[in-house]
Assembly symmetry: C2
Homo-oligomer: 220 residues x 2
């Protein structure tokens, strides 16, 4: 059983996706992620991340037999290409400093064979940040969220609780007023260190894990 | 006709996606992006970005009628939450400096109501970077790619040509040997400026557009 990414070029008409998912389902294969768009030449491009594939060649043969499919190509999965994601939200001077720490640390891990990416949304305001936290339930491969600001609370706290009830998201935050530190797993005062620690938490090649720290010793 | 994101909680069994896409297809609605995972409580979470929706309430009513669906919720689209993506690939000292410029500039645009995110993969080596460039054909909302390194060429050049033949990806690169500058739309020597200019290119609130520059004046 392996994971694959496939890219299907097809005619651009409604119903094609339906035909394709029917075949994948019949092969007892899980779809983890799917993305569609129309190419410059008006062909449809359907990109699918597959899990638990028994016989990829048999699947591709069946997909190629569809009249609406031009060709099917196999690629490395997004997990292989982009790896785990460290996500940074916040605004002003701090968000780029957290990113600086995270990217520099990710570079050091990736050069040793890991794959960690650092995705940043520079955004301010309770509602936009709360919405962006909520959206983490609908993104693949999210490992650690870092909140980089000088005051966060209210709706942001509620959305963090909601996401944490759905999956095991790790949340680090800068030391700040507003209440968000109370729902954070680790509080870090220095923004560069916050970024570095978030990547260390996500990495397989680092020994750091906030869960190994005493509960009353998770603020630096 | 509007765009929406919906999140469907369902029983976790194969075939559910097939039932759902059949209904969406019957409503003549485009699926732009789809992501699935299993929640902590073993329920399935199916998240779909919909385009050209005529009557969202009618669709949700039909989806709720499926035995395998627990509930359907409407959210702002990923375009609304994360906006356009500036993507940065490369390693070492330069990748975090390009990100610093891009994130600081994105913060300035986003505070005025835009939404631009900055996604970074710190990675070195011809093959991993070429694979990551190729993967841009399978990611949504990509606006500008910045290549941040000190030598890039070979397979990376071929993959850039391939992506550009599929959609209108804008590629900025640092000034470097290896040949990659020949397929770049803009060459920028200073990494912070490269990041700033990439975000200005993506932004609606900036006047910068490399296409307005003479072809022999696209190196800074």
């Amino acid at each position: 059983m392996s994971n694959y990414a496939i890219s299907i070029k097809s005619v651009e008409k409604k119903g094609v996706l339906d035909e394709i998912t029917e075949i994948i389902t019949a092969h007892n294969i899980n779809i983890a992620y799917l993305n569609l768009f129309i190419e410059n030449d008006f062909k449809g491009s359907i990109n699918i991340e597959l899990e638990d594939v028994d016989d990829i060649n048999l699947l591709i043969q069946d997909l190629n037999n569809l009249n609406s499919v031009y060709n099917v190509k196999i690629y490395p999965s997004q997990e292989d290409v982009f790896g785990k994601r460290v996500i940074i939200y916040g605004g002003g001077a701090q968000v780029s400093q957290v990113a600086l720490g995270a990217i520099t640390e990710a570079d050091r891990h990736n050069i040793r064979g890991e794959r960690i990416s650092v995705d940043t949304l520079p955004v301010v305001g309770e509602k936009p940040i709360a919405e962006a936290v909520n959206a983490l339930t609908r993104l693949p491969r999210v490992s650690v969220l870092v909140l980089a600001g000088s005051i966060m609370g209210g709706e942001i706290i509620e959305e963090i609780k909601k996401v944490k009830s759905i999956y095991d998201l790790t949340v680090f935050s800068l030391n700040m007023p507003g209440g968000v530190t109370e729902v954070s797993d680790l509080i870090v005062t220095d923004p560069i260190q916050a970024g570095v620690m978030a990547v260390m938490q996500a990495a397989d090649t680092a020994v750091f894990d906030y869960r190994k720290l005493d509960k009353d010793n998770r603020k630096f």
